[in-house]
C-alpha cells in the first residue's frame, strides 16, 4: 500500500482550509475559509483501503461545493469532496470481477449524502460499484465532474417541470419559466431546457433572476430569453413589478434554487393560475403560504426531486454526443481553493469552478471560453 504524501503547497492549502477564522463582531473583513467538520491537515495521508466489493477512486477533479453560511461569522462553508467528483479507478476490490472496471478507467461518482462532506481526500473508497459510472473517452474529466452535482439536480428539476410545461404549451400562446438563481444550477437549467426542447421551443421563454448583475450577464450569454435583476436592496413590490413587466403574461413555472423567504414570496406573487413552483434551495428557510390562495389558483409547490442514475447516464451520453451544451466553467488547482471560494462568493467568478487535484507538475488552467 503506497502512502500518499502531500507537497508543501497542498499542505499549506489544507492548513488554511482547517483554520478557524479570527473574526470579532466589529470586524468588517470577511472571514477566511473555514474547515468542514472533519477536515484534518496531516503531513501525509495513508491511502484508504479498497473495499472488497467496491473500488478505490483517485480524484482528479471536484466541483467547488459549499453551503451558504448560517451562523454569525461564516459566509460559506466549503464541502470536500463535495458532490461533483470525477477521477480514475486506482484499485478494484478483490471480490469484483475485473471485467467491470480496470485500473485507470475514467469515472464519476454518484453523490451520496454520507460522503459529501467527509473532508479533503485524494482517494475515495466507494462501497457500491454501481454508484460509479464510466466516463466516455471524449468527455474530459473536468466536465464529467460537474455532472453528478448541479447538472443532475438541474436535470431532475427540468424533467419534473417538463410535463407541466408541455400541458400548458398546448393551451397557451407563450409559457414563461423563471429560474431563480443564476449560478451554475441556473446555467445548467438554461442549457438543459434547450436540450430537452430541441428546435421546438419558440413558445417557451426562459427567464433568469439573480441578485448579481455579473451572474445575470453570464446567464444571458448562455441563451436565456431575458434576465431580471432581483436586487436585494430594492423594495419587494418593485421587484415583483419588474418581474411581471419582463414576463408579460405572468410566470407559469418557477424553479427556485435560492429558496429564501423573500424569493418564495416573490415567486408566489408572480405565479399564474395553475402555475408550478419547484423548490431547490439548500438553506433552512421557512415561509408563509396562503393555502386558500394556493387552492383557489390551483397552483402547486414541489420539492426538486433527487436525480437518479439513469438521468446521470443520459447526461454523460448527451455531453459525449454534443447534443447538450456544457455551461461555462473554469478549472483551478485545489491549492487555490481558499482564494477561489472568496471570488465565487463575491461574484467575481461567475462560471462553474472545478478544482484539479495534483496540479503540481502541470501548471496550466483549463476552461472552455
Amino acid at each position: 500500500m503506497t502512502k500518499a504524501t502531500l507537497n508543501q503547497n497542498e499542505l499549506r492549502a489544507l492548513r488554511k482550509l482547517t483554520g478557524e477564522p479570527d473574526v470579532q463582531s466589529s470586524s468588517i473583513q470577511s472571514s477566511s475559509l473555514l474547515s468542514s467538520s472533519t477536515c484534518e491537515a496531516v503531513s501525509s495521508m495513508p491511502v484508504p483501503a479498497t473495499p472488497d466489493n467496491g473500488v478505490l477512486v483517485k480524484i482528479s477533479h471536484a466541483g467547488a461545493c459549499f453551503t451558504e453560511g448560517q451562523t454569525r461569522n461564516k459566509k460559506y462553508t466549503p464541502q470536500f469532496p463535495g458532490n461533483e467528483v470525477a477521477g480514475t479507478i486506482h484499485e478494484v476490490g478483490n471480490n469484483l470481477p475485473n471485467a467491470n472496471f480496470s485500473v485507470g478507467d475514467k469515472v464519476m461518482i454518484m453523490p451520496n449524502e454520507a460522503t459529501v462532506n467527509t473532508g479533503y481526500a485524494e482517494y475515495v473508497p466507494v462501497m457500491d460499484p454501481s454508484q460509479v459510472i464510466q466516463v466516455p473517452n471524449k468527455v474530459p474529466l473536468e466536465v464529467a465532474a460537474m455532472l453528478p452535482g448541479d447538472a443532475l439536480k438541474a436535470y431532475a428539476a427540468v424533467n419534473c417541470a417538463a410535463p407541466h410545461v408541455e400541458k400548458l404549451r398546448k393551451v397557451k400562446s407563450c409559457v414563461n419559466i423563471l429560474v431563480v438563481g443564476g449560478s451554475s444550477l441556473g446555467l445548467w437549467t438554461v442549457k438543459l431546457a434547450k436540450y430537452m426542447m430541441g428546435r421546438n421551443c419558440n413558445n417557451v421563454r426562459l427567464f433568469v433572476a439573480d441578485n448579481s448583475i455579473d451572474r445575470l450577464l453570464t446567464a444571458q450569454d448562455h441563451g436565456c430569453y431575458d434576465i431580471i435583476h432581483w436586487n436585494e436592496e430594492d423594495h419587494e413590490q418593485y421587484i415583483v413589478e419588474r418581474t411581471l413587466d419582463s414576463c408579460r403574461s405572468g410566470v407559469d413555472v418557477i424553479i427556485d434554487y435560492v429558496g429564501t423567504n423573500r424569493t418564495m414570496q416573490r415567486c408566489l406573487k408572480v405565479l399564474n393560475r395553475e402555475g408550478l413552483i419547484l423548490v431547490g434551495g439548500n438553506r433552512p428557510c421557512e415561509t408563509n403560504i396562503s393555502l386558500s390562495t394556493l387552492a383557489a389558483k390551483q397552483q402547486s409547490i414541489v420539492g426538486v426531486p433527487r436525480g437518479n442514475m439513469n438521468q446521470l447516464i443520459e447526461l454523460i451520453n448527451a455531453v459525449a454526443e454534443k447534443t447538450l451544451e456544457v455551461p461555462a466553467y473554469k478549472v483551478y488547482p485545489v491549492e487555490s481553493a481558499s482564494h477561489v471560494f472568496e471570488e465565487i462568493c463575491e461574484c467575481r467568478i461567475t462560471e462553474r469552478v472545478i478544482f484539479k487535484f495534483g496540479t503540481q507538475s502541470s501548471g496550466h488552467l483549463v476552461d472552455n471560453h
Binding site: S25, I28, L216, E233, H235, Q237, N261
Partner: protein, 505 residues
C-alpha cells in the same frame, strides 16, 4: 415617562400616538433617558423645519439670479419646458429612461387621456458605467436598436424623448450639458458635453437607425410633473423621492433672472431646482447629526448633496443602521450583541425601514425576519419596538425635510390650488410618508393655499413622451411658420413682378 412620550409623539394621527406610547410601555426610565439622548438629534422641532423652509427660499432665489447662480447650491436650472400637456398630444413616441443601473426603452401611445406603453429594461454592466462616454452611448444605441427590432419599428419616424436623471444644465429643449455624474456613474468624456449630441453621434456611428432623433431631454422631476399634469391640469410641482431627491416647479419668467430664451406666451418655465445640493455650503449644519456626518464622510461625494443625504433612499437605511449600532454599543439593543451584517456599511437596506414600519405591532413578524436575515440571533420584543422607533424617527425627519422644501415652492408660487406629482420608491412604498408630508406641508403652508400630493405613475416614460410630443408639435409649428413665411415672401415678390409687368405694359 409621560414627558418622554409627549416629546416623541407625532401630532398627525391618533393611531400613531398610540403606537409611540405602546412602543415605550414598560421600559425603565433610566433606559429611556439613555435612548432619548442618543436619538434626540434626529427629532427636530417645528421651528427647525420652518428655518429649513426659509433657508430653502433664500437658496432658490440665489439660483435664479445671474449674480449668484454660479456659486448657488440650489442651481434652479431652466428646463425649456414652458407648459404642461394640453391634451392634444397624440400619437406614438419613443422614450428613453436612464437614471441608474437600469436603462429603459419605451414605446408610448398617447390618445387623449389614454396612454399605453410597452417597455423593456436593459441592464447597464459596471464596466460600462465606469468606461468611456462613447461606450455608454454605443450601449444605449444598441439597446434602442434591439427594442426597435423586437417591435418592428425600423421604418417609422418616431419622435424620441429622453429622461436623463443626472444634474444637467439645459441650453434648449434638446440640448443638455451634464454637469456631474452621480449615482455610481463615471463615464469619461461626458461631463461638460451635450448628451443629445453624444447620443446622436452613437446612432450615426451605427448607421442603421436613421429615423431616430432625440427631440427633447428632460429630468425625472419634469417627467413626474408632466405625467401627473396629464390627468391633473393644476399640477405645478414634480417631486422625486427615491434613490435621490429632487424637485421641479413652474416659475414665472420674470422671476427667472437667468433666463436667456424668448418672452412669448406662456410666460413661465419649469425650473429644475437640483435641490439635493442644498446645504453644501454648511447652512444646514445646525440640524446635521453625527450619523449624517459619518455618512457624508464615507460617501463618494463628501460635502455634496447634503439635503439629499438626509432624505433619500440611498442613505436612509444607513442612517438607521448607525443609530441602531450606537444604541447597541451602549447595550440598549440586542444585549450589546451585533452581527457581521449589522456592522457592514450599507447593509441595513432602506427597504427595511419601510418594512419594519409597516409591520404589525403585536407580532413583529417582519421585523424578526429582518433580524434573522441580519443574523442577529439575540432579540427581544423590546428590541423590535426600539428598532421600529429608530426607523420612524429617521423616516419622519426625511418626510418633514422634504415637506419643508415643497412648502417653500408652494409658498413661492402662491397658486391657490396646486397638485404635486410625486414619484420614487420612498414615497411609493413607505407606509406613512404620504401622510407625514400632508401633515407637515399643511403646517408650513400659507393659510390661503391648498395642495394635493399625487403619485405620478411612470413619469420617466410617460413624461418623456409628453415632452417629445410637445417638442414635435413646436417643431412642426416652427416648420409650418417658416413655410408660411416663405410662401408669403414668394407671393410678395410675385405680386411685385406682376406690378412691374403691368407698369411696363
Amino acid at each position: 415617562m409621560a414627558h418622554m412620550a409627549t416629546e416623541l409623539i407625532l401630532p398627525h394621527s391618533e393611531l400613531r400616538n398610540e403606537e409611540i406610547s405602546s412602543l415605550l410601555r414598560g421600559i425603565p426610565a433610566a433606559f429611556v433617558d439613555k435612548v432619548e439622548n442618543i436619538l434626540r438629534p434626529l427629532d427636530l422641532t417645528d421651528e427647525r423645519y420652518r428655518q429649513v423652509m426659509d433657508l430653502m427660499r433664500q437658496n432658490l432665489d440665489a439660483g435664479l439670479h445671474p449674480d449668484t447662480h454660479a456659486t448657488a447650491n440650489v442651481k434652479c436650472f431652466p428646463t425649456y419646458v414652458r407648459s404642461v400637456p394640453d391634451g392634444s398630444e397624440n400619437g406614438d413616441f419613443l422614450a428613453l429612461d436612464l437614471g441608474g443601473t437600469n436603462f429603459r426603452v419605451l414605446l408610448i401611445n398617447l390618445n387623449g387621456q389614454e396612454v399605453t406603453m410597452e417597455s423593456k429594461i436593459y441592464i447597464i454592466p459596471q464596466h460600462i458605467m465606469l468606461g468611456s462616454g462613447d461606450q455608454l452611448f454605443d450601449h444605449i444605441a444598441d439597446c434602442i436598436f434591439k427594442f426597435m427590432c423586437d417591435h418592428q419599428l425600423h421604418d417609422r419616424r418616431l419622435p424620441l424623448g429622453f429622461t436623463f436623471s443626472f444634474p444637467c444644465r439645459q441650453e434648449g429643449l434638446d440640448r443638455a450639458i451634464l454637469t456631474t455624474w452621480t449615482k455610481g456613474f463615471k463615464c469619461a468624456g461626458v461631463e461638460g458635453n451635450d448628451i443629445v449630441e453624444l447620443l446622436h453621434a452613437a446612432i450615426d456611428r451605427r448607421g442603421d437607425m436613421k429615423n431616430v432623433r432625440c427631440l427633447a431631454v428632460i429630468n425625472d422631476t419634469v417627467g413626474a410633473l408632466m405625467s401627473c399634469a396629464h390627468s391633473a391640469r393644476n399640477c405645478a410641482v414634480g417631486l422625486i423621492l427615491g434613490t435621490g431627491t429632487n424637485a421641479c416647479y413652474i416659475e414665472d419668467l420674470h422671476n427667472v433672472k437667468t433666463w436667456d430664451g424668448d418672452y412669448n406666451e406662456p410666460k413661465q418655465v419649469l425650473i429644475n431646482t437640483e435641490w439635493g445640493a442644498f446645504g453644501n455650503d454648511g447652512c444646514l449644519d445646525f440640524i446635521l447629526t453625527d450619523f449624517d456626518k459619518s455618512i457624508d464622510k464615507h460617501s463618494i461625494n463628501p460635502g455634496k448633496q447634503i439635503y439629499e443625504k438626509m432624505i433619500s433612499g440611498m442613505y436612509m437605511g444607513e442612517i438607521a443602521r448607525l443609530a441602531i449600532e450606537r444604541l447597541r454599543k451602549h447595550n440598549l439593543l440586542f444585549e450589546g450583541e451585533g452581527s457581521y451584517h449589522l456592522s457592514t456599511r450599507g447593509r441595513f437596506y432602506t427597504k427595511y425601514v419601510s418594512e419594519i414600519e409597516g409591520d404589525d405591532v403585536d407580532n413583529f413578524t417582519v421585523t424578526k425576519q429582518i433580524f434573522e436575515e441580519l443574523e442577529l440571533s439575540t432579540h427581544t420584543e423590546q428590541d423590535c419596538r426600539l428598532v421600529r422607533h429608530v426607523c420612524s424617527l429617521v423616516s419622519k425627519r426625511a418626510a418633514y425635510l422634504a415637506s419643508a422644501g415643497i412648502a417653500c415652492l408652494l409658498n413661492k408660487m402662491g397658486r391657490r390650488d396646486t397638485t404635486v406629482g410625486v414619484d420614487g420608491s420612498l414615497y411609493r412604498f413607505h407606509p406613512f410618508f404620504h401622510d407625514l408630508m400632508m401633515e407637515k406641508i399643511t403646517q408650513l403652508l400659507k393659510p390661503n393655499l391648498k395642495f394635493k400630493l399625487m403619485l405620478s405613475h411612470d413619469g420617466s416614460g410617460k413624461g418623456a413622451a409628453l415632452v417629445a410630443a410637445v417638442a414635435a408639435r413646436l417643431r412642426k409649428e416652427a416648420e409650418d411658420a417658416q413655410q408660411a413665411e416663405e410662401l408669403e415672401k414668394e407671393a410678395f415678390l410675385l405680386s411685385k413682378e406682376m406690378e412691374n409687368v403691368e407698369v411696363d405694359n
